[in-house]
Protein backbone atom coordinates (compact mmCIF):
# COMPACT_ATOMS: atom_id res chain seq x y z
CA UNK A 1 0.00 0.00 0.00
CA UNK A 2 2.87 2.35 -0.72
CA UNK A 3 1.82 5.10 -3.11
CA UNK A 4 4.64 4.38 -5.57
CA UNK A 5 5.89 1.28 -7.36
CA UNK A 6 9.52 2.32 -6.85
CA UNK A 7 11.80 1.61 -3.94
CA UNK A 8 13.67 4.67 -2.83
CA UNK A 9 17.23 4.67 -1.56
CA UNK A 10 20.45 6.61 -1.72
CA UNK A 11 23.76 6.35 -3.44
CA UNK A 12 26.43 5.25 -0.99
CA UNK A 13 29.48 5.08 -3.22
CA UNK A 14 30.37 5.75 -6.83
CA UNK A 15 33.42 4.04 -8.32
CA UNK A 16 34.81 4.42 -11.83
CA UNK A 17 34.13 1.46 -14.12
CA UNK A 18 36.48 1.56 -17.03
CA UNK A 19 37.36 4.96 -18.44
CA UNK A 20 33.83 6.24 -18.78
CA UNK A 21 31.52 4.09 -16.71
CA UNK A 22 30.65 4.10 -13.02
CA UNK A 23 29.71 1.49 -10.50
CA UNK A 24 26.99 2.78 -8.21
CA UNK A 25 26.60 1.21 -4.81
CA UNK A 26 23.33 2.09 -3.04
CA UNK A 27 21.72 1.42 0.32
CA UNK A 28 18.79 -0.46 -1.24
CA UNK A 29 18.51 -4.08 -0.19
CA UNK A 30 16.97 -6.38 -2.76
CA UNK A 31 16.84 -10.10 -3.06
CA UNK A 32 17.46 -11.06 -6.67
CA UNK A 33 18.98 -13.66 -8.96
CA UNK A 34 21.93 -12.78 -11.16
CA UNK A 35 20.63 -11.78 -14.59
CA UNK A 36 17.57 -10.02 -13.22
CA UNK A 37 17.28 -6.30 -13.77
CA UNK A 38 15.66 -3.19 -12.34
CA UNK A 39 13.89 -0.29 -13.98
CA UNK A 40 15.75 2.75 -12.71
CA UNK A 41 13.63 5.86 -12.54
CA UNK A 42 15.07 9.34 -12.84
CA UNK A 43 12.17 11.51 -11.62
CA UNK A 44 10.81 13.93 -14.20
CA UNK A 45 13.07 12.41 -16.84
CA UNK A 46 12.91 8.75 -17.75
CA UNK A 47 12.99 5.14 -16.56
CA UNK A 48 15.39 2.57 -18.04
CA UNK A 49 16.50 -1.02 -17.48
CA UNK A 50 19.77 -1.90 -15.75
CA UNK A 51 21.22 -5.23 -14.74
CA UNK A 52 22.27 -5.86 -11.18
CA UNK A 53 25.94 -6.16 -10.31
CA UNK A 54 24.88 -7.05 -6.78
CA UNK A 55 21.51 -7.17 -5.06
CA UNK A 56 22.31 -6.46 -1.45
CA UNK A 57 23.19 -3.67 -1.44
CA UNK A 58 21.90 -2.93 -4.91
CA UNK A 59 24.85 -2.16 -7.16
CA UNK A 60 24.75 -1.07 -10.81
CA UNK A 61 27.38 -0.54 -13.46
CA UNK A 62 26.49 2.16 -15.92
CA UNK A 63 28.09 3.05 -19.22
CA UNK A 64 27.12 6.49 -20.51
CA UNK A 65 25.41 6.34 -23.88
CA UNK A 66 22.70 9.00 -23.62
CA UNK A 67 20.70 11.28 -21.34
CA UNK A 68 19.81 8.86 -18.52
CA UNK A 69 23.12 7.07 -18.33
CA UNK A 70 24.78 10.46 -18.57
CA UNK A 71 22.91 11.66 -15.51
CA UNK A 72 23.64 8.47 -13.58
CA UNK A 73 27.28 9.16 -14.33
CA UNK A 74 27.02 12.39 -12.31
CA UNK A 75 25.53 10.81 -9.17
CA UNK A 76 27.14 11.65 -5.84
CA UNK A 77 26.96 9.79 -2.55
CA UNK A 78 23.72 10.78 -0.81
CA UNK A 79 21.77 11.32 -4.03
CA UNK A 80 18.42 9.54 -4.17
CA UNK A 81 17.84 6.48 -6.34
CA UNK A 82 14.51 4.92 -7.38
CA UNK A 83 14.21 1.40 -8.68
CA UNK A 84 11.45 -1.01 -9.60
CA UNK A 85 12.26 -4.68 -9.42
CA UNK A 86 13.99 -7.07 -9.45
CA UNK A 87 12.37 -8.05 -12.74
CA UNK A 88 12.69 -10.82 -15.28
CA UNK A 89 14.14 -14.28 -15.31
CA UNK A 90 17.73 -14.64 -14.15
CA UNK A 91 20.46 -17.20 -14.71
CA UNK A 92 20.23 -20.71 -13.36
CA UNK A 93 22.92 -21.61 -10.86
CA UNK A 94 23.24 -25.07 -12.41
CA UNK A 95 26.80 -24.79 -13.72
CA UNK A 96 29.15 -26.91 -11.64
CA UNK A 97 32.18 -25.83 -13.71
CA UNK A 98 30.80 -22.69 -15.28
CA UNK A 99 32.30 -20.61 -18.06
CA UNK A 100 31.21 -16.96 -18.09
CA UNK A 101 31.67 -15.02 -21.34
CA UNK A 102 31.21 -11.28 -20.91
CA UNK A 103 31.52 -8.71 -23.68
CA UNK A 104 31.48 -4.94 -23.12
CA UNK A 105 28.73 -3.77 -20.76
CA UNK A 106 27.59 -7.41 -20.58
CA UNK A 107 30.06 -7.57 -17.74
CA UNK A 108 27.47 -6.29 -15.25
CA UNK A 109 25.09 -9.25 -14.80
CA UNK A 110 27.87 -11.81 -15.09
CA UNK A 111 29.85 -10.14 -12.31
CA UNK A 112 26.84 -10.78 -10.06
CA UNK A 113 26.63 -14.36 -11.31
CA UNK A 114 30.37 -14.90 -10.78
CA UNK A 115 30.18 -13.90 -7.14
CA UNK A 116 27.04 -15.97 -6.53
CA UNK A 117 28.61 -19.05 -8.11
CA UNK A 118 31.88 -18.52 -6.24
CA UNK A 119 29.96 -18.16 -2.98
CA UNK A 120 28.35 -21.52 -3.78
CA UNK A 121 31.81 -23.04 -4.03
CA UNK A 122 31.93 -23.41 -7.83
CA UNK A 123 35.15 -22.97 -9.72
CA UNK A 124 34.35 -20.07 -12.02
CA UNK A 125 36.13 -19.45 -15.32
CA UNK A 126 35.61 -16.04 -16.88
CA UNK A 127 36.36 -14.71 -20.33
CA UNK A 128 36.01 -10.94 -20.15
CA UNK A 129 36.35 -8.84 -23.23
CA UNK A 130 35.96 -5.27 -24.50
CA UNK A 131 37.06 -3.11 -27.35
CA UNK A 132 39.85 -1.53 -25.33
CA UNK A 133 41.27 -1.43 -21.82
CA UNK A 134 39.17 1.62 -21.01
CA UNK A 135 35.97 -0.27 -21.68
CA UNK A 136 36.72 -3.23 -19.46
CA UNK A 137 34.29 -3.23 -16.57
CA UNK A 138 34.32 -4.67 -13.06
CA UNK A 139 37.71 -6.31 -13.44
CA UNK A 140 38.32 -6.34 -9.68
CA UNK A 141 35.01 -7.99 -9.00
CA UNK A 142 35.86 -10.73 -11.47
CA UNK A 143 39.32 -11.09 -9.99
CA UNK A 144 37.74 -11.63 -6.59
CA UNK A 145 35.25 -14.24 -7.76
CA UNK A 146 36.89 -16.13 -10.62
CA UNK A 147 39.24 -19.05 -10.30
CA UNK A 148 40.49 -18.24 -13.80
CA UNK A 149 40.08 -14.89 -15.53
CA UNK A 150 40.92 -14.36 -19.22
CA UNK A 151 40.89 -10.80 -20.48
CA UNK A 152 40.76 -9.78 -24.13
CA UNK A 153 40.60 -6.45 -25.91
CA UNK A 154 40.09 -5.88 -29.59
CA UNK A 155 42.94 -3.37 -29.72
CA UNK A 156 45.22 -5.34 -27.42
CA UNK A 157 45.39 -2.49 -24.87
CA UNK A 158 44.80 -5.00 -22.09
CA UNK A 159 45.04 -8.78 -21.87
CA UNK A 160 45.07 -10.78 -25.07
CA UNK A 161 44.34 -9.04 -28.36
CA UNK A 162 41.23 -10.43 -30.02
CA UNK A 163 37.66 -11.35 -29.39
CA UNK A 164 36.34 -12.82 -26.17
CA UNK A 165 34.62 -15.53 -28.21
CA UNK A 166 37.94 -16.90 -29.37
CA UNK A 167 39.00 -17.36 -25.77
CA UNK A 168 35.69 -19.02 -25.02
CA UNK A 169 36.18 -21.41 -27.90
CA UNK A 170 39.65 -22.35 -26.65
CA UNK A 171 38.34 -22.97 -23.16
CA UNK A 172 35.47 -25.08 -24.45
CA UNK A 173 37.81 -27.05 -26.68
CA UNK A 174 39.99 -27.79 -23.64
CA UNK A 175 36.92 -29.26 -21.95
CA UNK A 176 36.24 -28.92 -18.23
CA UNK A 177 33.28 -26.54 -18.55
CA UNK A 178 29.76 -27.87 -18.13
CA UNK A 179 27.73 -24.69 -18.71
CA UNK A 180 28.26 -21.41 -20.50
CA UNK A 181 26.81 -18.10 -19.33
CA UNK A 182 27.05 -15.21 -21.73
CA UNK A 183 26.20 -11.55 -21.93
CA UNK A 184 27.17 -9.05 -24.57
CA UNK A 185 26.21 -7.81 -28.05
CA UNK A 186 23.88 -10.03 -30.06
CA UNK A 187 26.50 -11.11 -32.65
CA UNK A 188 28.70 -12.29 -29.77
CA UNK A 189 25.77 -14.20 -28.26
CA UNK A 190 25.09 -15.88 -31.59
CA UNK A 191 28.67 -17.04 -31.81
CA UNK A 192 28.57 -18.33 -28.24
CA UNK A 193 25.35 -20.19 -29.05
CA UNK A 194 27.06 -21.85 -31.99
CA UNK A 195 29.96 -22.88 -29.77
CA UNK A 196 27.58 -24.39 -27.22
CA UNK A 197 25.98 -26.48 -29.93
CA UNK A 198 29.33 -27.46 -31.33
CA UNK A 199 30.72 -28.60 -27.98
CA UNK A 200 27.46 -29.96 -26.65
CA UNK A 201 27.50 -27.73 -23.58
CA UNK A 202 24.30 -26.05 -22.36
CA UNK A 203 24.35 -22.29 -22.41
CA UNK A 204 22.38 -19.33 -21.10
CA UNK A 205 22.60 -15.76 -22.31
CA UNK A 206 21.23 -12.42 -21.20
CA UNK A 207 19.73 -10.29 -23.97
CA UNK A 208 18.88 -6.62 -24.25
CA UNK A 209 15.94 -5.02 -26.04
CA UNK A 210 14.13 -1.74 -25.94
CA UNK A 211 11.91 -1.79 -22.84
CA UNK A 212 9.04 0.26 -21.56
CA UNK A 213 7.01 -1.60 -18.94
CA UNK A 214 9.54 -4.23 -17.89
CA UNK A 215 6.67 -6.50 -16.81
CA UNK A 216 5.48 -8.21 -19.96
CA UNK A 217 2.51 -6.15 -21.12
CA UNK A 218 3.54 -3.38 -23.48
CA UNK A 219 5.14 -5.57 -26.13
CA UNK A 220 8.15 -3.26 -26.64
CA UNK A 221 10.81 -5.88 -25.99
CA UNK A 222 9.93 -8.70 -28.41
CA UNK A 223 13.28 -10.42 -29.06
CA UNK A 224 12.11 -10.94 -32.63
CA UNK A 225 10.53 -14.32 -32.06
CA UNK A 226 7.65 -13.30 -29.82
CA UNK A 227 9.64 -13.87 -26.64
CA UNK A 228 9.70 -10.95 -24.23
CA UNK A 229 13.13 -9.95 -23.03
CA UNK A 230 11.64 -8.36 -19.90
CA UNK A 231 9.64 -11.34 -18.76
CA UNK A 232 10.60 -14.50 -20.63
CA UNK A 233 14.19 -13.22 -20.25
CA UNK A 234 16.43 -11.32 -20.12
CA UNK A 235 18.17 -14.68 -19.67
CA UNK A 236 17.33 -17.31 -22.30
CA UNK A 237 18.67 -20.77 -22.88
CA UNK A 238 20.97 -20.84 -25.89
Amino acid sequence: MAPSPHRAGRVVRVEPAGHRGVTIVSDIRLSARPGQFVMLWVPRADEKPFSLVADNPLTLAVVPVGPVTGRLQQLQPGDPLYVRGPLGRGFSLDGQRPLLVAGGSGAAPLAFLASRLAAAGREVTVALGARSAGELLLVERYQAAAARLWITTEDGSAGERGLVVSVAERLLANGGCDRVYACGPVPMLERVAALCREYGVPGEASYEAYMRCGIGVCGSCDRGDGLLVCRDGPVFDL
Binding site: P3, S4, H6, A8, P43, Y82, R212, C213, C218, G226
Partner: protein
Protein backbone atom coordinates in the same frame (compact mmCIF):
# COMPACT_ATOMS: atom_id res chain seq x y z
CA UNK B 1 -19.50 -34.96 -17.53
CA UNK B 2 -21.09 -33.03 -20.34
CA UNK B 3 -18.52 -31.45 -22.63
CA UNK B 4 -18.62 -27.70 -22.75
CA UNK B 5 -17.88 -25.55 -25.76
CA UNK B 6 -16.08 -22.27 -25.39
CA UNK B 7 -16.55 -20.87 -28.88
CA UNK B 8 -18.62 -17.77 -29.47
CA UNK B 9 -19.72 -15.82 -32.49
CA UNK B 10 -18.96 -12.13 -32.89
CA UNK B 11 -20.59 -10.35 -35.84
CA UNK B 12 -20.82 -13.65 -37.67
CA UNK B 13 -17.17 -14.52 -37.06
CA UNK B 14 -16.43 -17.57 -34.95
CA UNK B 15 -13.97 -17.24 -32.05
CA UNK B 16 -12.56 -20.50 -30.61
CA UNK B 17 -12.71 -19.01 -27.13
CA UNK B 18 -14.46 -15.92 -25.83
CA UNK B 19 -11.11 -14.32 -25.00
CA UNK B 20 -9.94 -11.35 -27.03
CA UNK B 21 -6.46 -9.93 -26.54
CA UNK B 22 -7.12 -6.30 -25.54
CA UNK B 23 -5.64 -3.53 -27.66
CA UNK B 24 -2.27 -2.17 -26.59
CA UNK B 25 -1.25 -5.23 -24.65
CA UNK B 26 1.38 -7.37 -26.39
CA UNK B 27 -0.07 -6.44 -29.77
CA UNK B 28 3.04 -4.79 -31.19
CA UNK B 29 4.47 -7.55 -33.39
CA UNK B 30 3.20 -10.40 -35.54
CA UNK B 31 5.24 -12.89 -33.52
CA UNK B 32 3.64 -11.77 -30.25
CA UNK B 33 0.13 -11.75 -31.71
CA UNK B 34 0.71 -15.27 -33.01
CA UNK B 35 2.04 -16.39 -29.65
CA UNK B 36 -1.05 -15.09 -27.81
CA UNK B 37 -3.28 -16.74 -30.42
CA UNK B 38 -1.54 -20.06 -29.86
CA UNK B 39 -1.99 -19.68 -26.13
CA UNK B 40 -5.76 -19.55 -26.16
CA UNK B 41 -7.05 -16.29 -27.63
CA UNK B 42 -10.28 -16.35 -29.61
CA UNK B 43 -9.22 -13.15 -31.36
CA UNK B 44 -6.29 -10.79 -31.02
CA UNK B 45 -6.13 -7.02 -31.29
CA UNK B 46 -3.10 -5.24 -32.63
CA UNK B 47 -1.79 -2.07 -30.99
CA UNK B 48 -3.84 1.02 -31.85
CA UNK B 49 -2.36 2.77 -34.83
CA UNK B 50 -2.61 6.21 -36.38
CA UNK B 51 -1.81 7.48 -39.86
CA UNK B 52 1.59 8.82 -38.85
CA UNK B 53 3.99 7.13 -36.42
CA UNK B 54 3.86 8.26 -32.77
CA UNK B 55 6.74 7.92 -30.32
CA UNK B 56 4.44 7.96 -27.34
CA UNK B 57 5.33 9.37 -23.93
CA UNK B 58 8.71 9.00 -22.24
CA UNK B 59 9.02 6.31 -19.60
CA UNK B 60 7.63 5.44 -17.07
CA UNK B 61 4.65 4.67 -19.26
CA UNK B 62 3.27 1.52 -17.60
CA UNK B 63 3.39 0.84 -13.88
CA UNK B 64 1.95 -1.78 -11.60
CA UNK B 65 0.05 -0.65 -8.53
CA UNK B 66 -1.95 -2.60 -6.00
CA UNK B 67 -5.13 -2.45 -8.08
CA UNK B 68 -3.61 -3.46 -11.41
CA UNK B 69 -1.81 -1.28 -13.93
CA UNK B 70 -1.68 2.38 -14.78
CA UNK B 71 -0.48 3.38 -18.22
CA UNK B 72 0.21 6.36 -20.39
CA UNK B 73 1.95 4.81 -23.33
CA UNK B 74 0.61 7.69 -25.37
CA UNK B 75 -0.41 5.56 -28.33
CA UNK B 76 3.14 4.84 -29.46
CA UNK B 77 2.88 3.12 -32.85
CA UNK B 78 4.83 2.83 -36.08
CA UNK B 79 2.12 4.45 -38.19
CA UNK B 80 -0.40 2.93 -40.57
CA UNK B 81 1.99 2.09 -43.39
CA UNK B 82 4.26 0.05 -41.12
CA UNK B 83 1.20 -1.45 -39.44
CA UNK B 84 -0.02 -2.81 -42.78
CA UNK B 85 3.05 -5.03 -42.91
CA UNK B 86 2.59 -6.19 -39.32
CA UNK B 87 -1.09 -6.93 -39.83
CA UNK B 88 -0.51 -8.79 -43.09
CA UNK B 89 2.22 -10.92 -41.51
CA UNK B 90 -0.04 -11.57 -38.53
CA UNK B 91 -2.94 -12.59 -40.75
CA UNK B 92 -0.71 -15.16 -42.48
CA UNK B 93 0.36 -16.58 -39.12
CA UNK B 94 -3.15 -16.65 -37.70
CA UNK B 95 -4.89 -18.19 -40.70
CA UNK B 96 -4.02 -21.80 -39.84
CA UNK B 97 -5.05 -21.21 -36.23
CA UNK B 98 -8.50 -19.88 -37.11
CA UNK B 99 -7.97 -16.82 -34.94
CA UNK B 100 -9.32 -13.56 -36.36
CA UNK B 101 -7.36 -10.31 -36.17
CA UNK B 102 -8.70 -6.99 -34.97
CA UNK B 103 -6.96 -3.82 -36.18
CA UNK B 104 -7.29 -0.94 -33.73
CA UNK B 105 -7.31 2.54 -35.17
CA UNK B 106 -6.87 5.95 -33.70
CA UNK B 107 -6.79 9.47 -35.08
CA UNK B 108 -6.27 12.98 -33.83
CA UNK B 109 -9.50 14.27 -35.32
CA UNK B 110 -12.72 12.45 -36.19
CA UNK B 111 -12.19 12.44 -39.96
CA UNK B 112 -8.72 10.92 -39.57
CA UNK B 113 -10.22 7.60 -38.49
CA UNK B 114 -11.36 7.01 -42.06
CA UNK B 115 -7.90 7.73 -43.41
CA UNK B 116 -6.12 5.18 -41.24
CA UNK B 117 -8.71 2.53 -42.06
CA UNK B 118 -8.32 3.15 -45.77
CA UNK B 119 -4.58 2.52 -45.43
CA UNK B 120 -5.06 -0.63 -43.35
CA UNK B 121 -7.62 -2.14 -45.73
CA UNK B 122 -4.73 -3.56 -47.73
CA UNK B 123 -3.92 -5.87 -44.80
CA UNK B 124 -7.49 -7.22 -44.66
CA UNK B 125 -7.99 -7.45 -40.91
CA UNK B 126 -11.10 -9.34 -39.75
CA UNK B 127 -12.40 -6.43 -37.67
CA UNK B 128 -11.65 -2.81 -37.01
CA UNK B 129 -11.74 -1.48 -33.50
CA UNK B 130 -12.16 2.27 -33.25
CA UNK B 131 -10.28 3.62 -30.26
CA UNK B 132 -12.09 6.81 -29.38
CA UNK B 133 -11.42 6.38 -25.69
CA UNK B 134 -7.73 6.73 -24.89
CA UNK B 135 -7.40 8.93 -21.80
CA UNK B 136 -3.64 9.30 -22.06
CA UNK B 137 -3.33 11.93 -24.69
CA UNK B 138 -5.66 14.53 -23.17
CA UNK B 139 -2.87 17.03 -22.70
CA UNK B 140 -2.12 16.83 -26.39
CA UNK B 141 -5.61 16.31 -27.78
CA UNK B 142 -8.14 17.27 -25.13
CA UNK B 143 -10.95 15.02 -23.92
CA UNK B 144 -11.30 11.78 -25.91
CA UNK B 145 -14.00 11.53 -28.57
CA UNK B 146 -15.77 9.04 -26.33
CA UNK B 147 -16.55 11.84 -23.89
CA UNK B 148 -19.13 13.25 -26.30
CA UNK B 149 -21.74 11.26 -28.24
CA UNK B 150 -21.55 13.60 -31.22
CA UNK B 151 -17.77 13.32 -31.62
CA UNK B 152 -17.96 9.58 -31.00
CA UNK B 153 -20.55 9.14 -33.73
CA UNK B 154 -18.52 11.23 -36.13
CA UNK B 155 -15.43 9.03 -35.69
CA UNK B 156 -17.55 5.92 -36.08
CA UNK B 157 -19.19 7.22 -39.25
CA UNK B 158 -15.78 7.97 -40.76
CA UNK B 159 -14.71 4.36 -40.25
CA UNK B 160 -18.05 3.04 -41.40
CA UNK B 161 -17.65 4.91 -44.66
CA UNK B 162 -14.16 3.51 -45.21
CA UNK B 163 -14.79 -0.21 -44.83
CA UNK B 164 -17.33 -3.00 -45.14
CA UNK B 165 -15.63 -5.07 -42.46
CA UNK B 166 -17.24 -5.27 -39.03
CA UNK B 167 -16.55 -2.20 -36.91
CA UNK B 168 -16.16 -2.36 -33.13
CA UNK B 169 -16.18 0.94 -31.25
CA UNK B 170 -14.31 1.07 -27.97
CA UNK B 171 -15.90 3.15 -25.25
CA UNK B 172 -14.58 5.01 -22.25
CA UNK B 173 -15.97 4.58 -18.72
CA UNK B 174 -14.98 8.16 -17.89
CA UNK B 175 -18.29 9.70 -18.80
CA UNK B 176 -21.45 10.42 -16.85
CA UNK B 177 -23.61 8.38 -19.28
CA UNK B 178 -21.90 5.63 -21.28
CA UNK B 179 -25.20 4.45 -22.77
CA UNK B 180 -25.70 7.74 -24.57
CA UNK B 181 -22.33 7.27 -26.27
CA UNK B 182 -23.08 3.63 -27.03
CA UNK B 183 -26.37 4.46 -28.69
CA UNK B 184 -24.78 7.24 -30.72
CA UNK B 185 -22.05 5.03 -32.17
CA UNK B 186 -24.45 2.19 -32.94
CA UNK B 187 -26.65 4.65 -34.77
CA UNK B 188 -23.54 5.76 -36.67
CA UNK B 189 -22.90 2.23 -37.84
CA UNK B 190 -20.95 0.33 -35.18
CA UNK B 191 -21.43 -3.44 -35.47
CA UNK B 192 -20.18 -4.09 -31.95
CA UNK B 193 -18.94 -2.26 -28.86
CA UNK B 194 -15.87 -2.82 -26.72
CA UNK B 195 -16.05 -1.63 -23.12
CA UNK B 196 -14.13 -0.46 -21.29
CA UNK B 197 -10.96 1.38 -22.13
CA UNK B 198 -8.86 2.44 -19.15
CA UNK B 199 -10.46 4.25 -16.22
CA UNK B 200 -9.70 7.62 -14.73
CA UNK B 201 -7.23 8.86 -15.52
CA UNK B 202 -5.39 8.26 -12.30
CA UNK B 203 -2.15 9.49 -10.80
CA UNK B 204 0.51 7.92 -8.62
CA UNK B 205 2.78 10.27 -6.71
CA UNK B 206 6.12 9.16 -5.32
CA UNK B 207 6.21 10.93 -1.98
CA UNK B 208 9.98 10.75 -1.67
CA UNK B 209 10.64 12.04 -5.17
CA UNK B 210 7.68 14.42 -4.60
CA UNK B 211 6.40 14.11 -8.12
CA UNK B 212 3.94 12.08 -10.20
CA UNK B 213 5.57 8.85 -11.32
CA UNK B 214 4.30 8.51 -14.87
CA UNK B 215 6.19 10.82 -17.21
CA UNK B 216 2.77 11.89 -18.50
CA UNK B 217 1.76 12.50 -14.84
CA UNK B 218 -1.62 10.80 -15.36
CA UNK B 219 -2.55 7.47 -16.91
CA UNK B 220 -5.45 5.12 -17.41
CA UNK B 221 -6.21 2.44 -14.83
CA UNK B 222 -6.77 -1.18 -15.73
CA UNK B 223 -6.78 -4.53 -13.99
CA UNK B 224 -8.79 -5.85 -11.03
CA UNK B 225 -9.51 -2.39 -9.60
CA UNK B 226 -11.67 -1.43 -12.56
CA UNK B 227 -13.66 -4.64 -12.91
CA UNK B 228 -16.84 -3.53 -11.12
CA UNK B 229 -17.02 -0.40 -13.26
CA UNK B 230 -16.49 -2.46 -16.41
CA UNK B 231 -19.19 -4.93 -15.41
CA UNK B 232 -21.64 -2.12 -14.76
CA UNK B 233 -20.86 -0.53 -18.13
CA UNK B 234 -21.41 -3.80 -19.97
CA UNK B 235 -24.60 -4.49 -18.02
CA UNK B 236 -26.02 -1.06 -18.82
CA UNK B 237 -24.87 -1.07 -22.46
CA UNK B 238 -26.37 -4.46 -23.13
CA UNK B 239 -29.79 -3.02 -22.26
CA UNK B 240 -29.18 0.13 -24.25
CA UNK B 241 -28.02 -1.33 -27.58
CA UNK B 242 -28.69 -4.43 -29.64
CA UNK B 243 -25.14 -5.06 -30.92
CA UNK B 244 -22.70 -7.51 -29.31
CA UNK B 245 -20.26 -6.25 -26.68
CA UNK B 246 -16.68 -7.24 -26.00
CA UNK B 247 -16.56 -6.82 -22.23
CA UNK B 248 -13.21 -5.97 -20.71
CA UNK B 249 -11.62 -4.34 -17.71
CA UNK B 250 -9.97 -6.32 -14.94
CA UNK B 251 -10.95 -9.76 -16.14
CA UNK B 252 -8.33 -12.00 -14.55
CA UNK B 253 -9.96 -15.38 -13.97
CA UNK B 254 -12.43 -17.61 -15.75
CA UNK B 255 -15.04 -16.65 -13.18
CA UNK B 256 -14.43 -12.97 -13.89
CA UNK B 257 -15.07 -13.76 -17.56
CA UNK B 258 -18.33 -15.47 -16.64
CA UNK B 259 -19.33 -12.36 -14.70
CA UNK B 260 -18.80 -10.24 -17.84
CA UNK B 261 -20.77 -12.68 -19.95
CA UNK B 262 -23.63 -12.75 -17.46
CA UNK B 263 -23.56 -8.94 -17.52
CA UNK B 264 -24.24 -9.22 -21.26
CA UNK B 265 -20.87 -9.55 -23.02
CA UNK B 266 -20.53 -11.75 -26.11
CA UNK B 267 -16.75 -11.95 -25.82
CA UNK B 268 -14.30 -10.92 -23.12
CA UNK B 269 -11.21 -8.78 -23.51
CA UNK B 270 -8.11 -9.57 -21.50
CA UNK B 271 -5.18 -7.19 -21.07
CA UNK B 272 -3.69 -6.51 -17.67
CA UNK B 273 -4.15 -10.11 -16.56
CA UNK B 274 -1.09 -10.94 -18.70
CA UNK B 275 0.84 -9.04 -16.06
CA UNK B 276 -0.65 -10.94 -13.11
CA UNK B 277 -0.74 -14.39 -14.65
CA UNK B 278 1.69 -14.35 -17.58
CA UNK B 279 1.43 -15.90 -21.04
CA UNK B 280 -0.58 -18.86 -19.74
CA UNK B 281 -3.42 -16.68 -18.53
CA UNK B 282 -5.91 -17.51 -21.30
CA UNK B 283 -5.35 -21.25 -21.02
CA UNK B 284 -5.83 -21.02 -17.27
CA UNK B 285 -8.99 -18.98 -17.72
CA UNK B 286 -10.34 -21.48 -20.25
CA UNK B 287 -9.89 -24.26 -17.70
CA UNK B 288 -11.60 -22.15 -15.03
CA UNK B 289 -14.53 -21.24 -17.23
CA UNK B 290 -14.95 -24.91 -18.22
CA UNK B 291 -14.93 -26.02 -14.60
CA UNK B 292 -17.60 -23.45 -13.78
CA UNK B 293 -19.76 -24.44 -16.74
CA UNK B 294 -19.52 -28.08 -15.81
CA UNK B 295 -20.36 -27.35 -12.16
CA UNK B 296 -23.39 -25.35 -13.21
CA UNK B 297 -24.47 -27.45 -16.17
CA UNK B 298 -23.90 -24.98 -18.97
CA UNK B 299 -23.16 -26.46 -22.37
CA UNK B 300 -21.98 -23.38 -24.22
CA UNK B 301 -20.94 -19.85 -23.46
CA UNK B 302 -23.94 -18.19 -25.04
CA UNK B 303 -26.24 -19.90 -22.53
CA UNK B 304 -24.70 -17.68 -19.86
CA UNK B 305 -24.95 -14.41 -21.75
CA UNK B 306 -26.96 -11.75 -19.99
CA UNK B 307 -28.22 -14.05 -17.23
CA UNK B 308 -27.69 -11.36 -14.59
CA UNK B 309 -30.49 -9.36 -16.16
CA UNK B 310 -33.01 -11.94 -14.97
CA UNK B 311 -35.84 -13.51 -16.89
Amino acid sequence: MRDVGLSVELCGVRLRTPFVLAAGVLGTTAALLERVARRGAGAVTAKSCSVRPRRGHPNPTVLPWEGGLINAVGLANPGAAAMVAILADTRRRLAPLGVPLIASVFAEEAGGFGEVVRILEEAEPDFYEVNISCPNVAEELGLPFAADPVQAARATAAVRAATRRPVIVKLSPNVADICAVGRAVVDAGADALAAINTLGPGMLIDIRARTPVLANRVGGLSGPAVRPVAVRCVYDLSRAVAVPIIGMGGVTTGEDAVEMIMAGATAVGVGSAFYQRGMGVLEAMAAEIRAFMQEQGFGCVSEMRGLAHGA
